[in-house]
Symmetry: C2
Subunit: 197 residues, 2 copies
């Protein structure tokens, strides 16, 4: 039987090119807006012509799809990193940590936030494979909070809604500022206090 190494130079090169394309798409999204991510604009940044992208992605939505998975994978990584650096010792600690990490992660990149959390691109829906990292992040959060005794769906729903609302208000009404960021700790304390009933 011929060798079929899971990693050879060809597939590695192919993977690297896909990475380049997705990174270029992120650049366009950040610089010009998420809706301005066009095949022509992406291709130009990687030094290609637009049709060449079809050798690596089946469609434009496939690029958005890879970006979506990218963003949530990165979000999970950021969460685990923060966790390792400041292991939360209490429920309150944990609630503050995850909220602050997610807030700061979202707020530095409006386009990424829109892709992750809003349905701003007409017709785009993430594939199950790309949706998986998003589910994984929420599952991880649920598991972490469960170790501190918070398991009710409603409690977690309210938590995510509060954090999301503050992020949304920050990005919509004071982008680049901290008018709502300053309210985050107080909001989390208020929320944690309300759990102890």
């Amino acid at each position: 039987m011929l060798g079929t190494p899971s990693r050879n130079r060809q597939t590695e090169r192919r993977e690297a090119t896909r990475r380049e394309i997705v990174d270029a798409a992120w650049e366009v999204a950040r610089d010009e807006g998420l809706a301005q991510v066009t095949l022509r604009a992406v291709a130009e940044r990687v030094g290609m012509r637009a049709p060449s992208l079809y050798s690596h992605f089946a469609s434009k939505h496939a690029i958005y799809d890879a970006m979506f998975a990218d963003a949530w994978t990165e979000c999970g990584r950021a969460g685990r990193e923060a966790e390792a650096k400041h292991p939360p010792q209490s429920l309150r600690d944990a609630m503050h940590l995850y909220a602050a990490t997610f807030f700061d992660f979202c707020v530095v990149d409006l386009a990424r936030f829109q892709l992750m959390n809003q349905r701003t691109i007409p017709g785009f829906e993430p594939s199950p494979e790309s949706y998986a990292p998003a589910v994984a992040v929420l599952d991880e959060l649920r598991d972490r909070l469960a170790t501190f005794g918070v398991t009710r769906l409603e409690d977690i729903d309210l938590y995510t809604a509060i954090v999301g609302g503050l992020i949304d208000a920050q990005l919509a009404n004071d982008p680049g500022g901290d008018r709502w960021r300053r309210l985050l700790d107080h909001a989390i304390d208020m929320y944690v206090d309300s759990l102890n009933h």
Copy 2:
């Protein structure tokens, strides 16, 4: 001096046509999405050809602009109506009333919510005249809450962020359902409790 009546039949007819166009635009937005509001689609619904719309609006953004003012004017009306029907007797009453009214107003029309609260249309920014009704709604809210002793900017910011976060979560994750709507009263109670310190 010749009579220059502020209302004659010509200007009234003109205003009526503008209304028809904006209403048609709302229909398109609701049926096909906010981004799918094209001049062709709008014109078709009013029985015109696309270029004819330019007799009434200077550009497509001008239509969005009228819609934006429309939405916030309607929102203010809904608030005053709810208020008249159930005059709040306490701060807690008021907080519940405005939150529920705004939530239900937003959640019945995703396209309207996106236009009012998100920056989903590339390049569109409301004109000062159209932004005015939005400011008025927030001013009214601030005045009402002030009569109950709530005047700090941070308190109002947190209030709007919480309500907005719940609306956002509802529309994004359970459109048509009530998974986050059910959390609203509890969230408001939690928030009001936190004010009494």
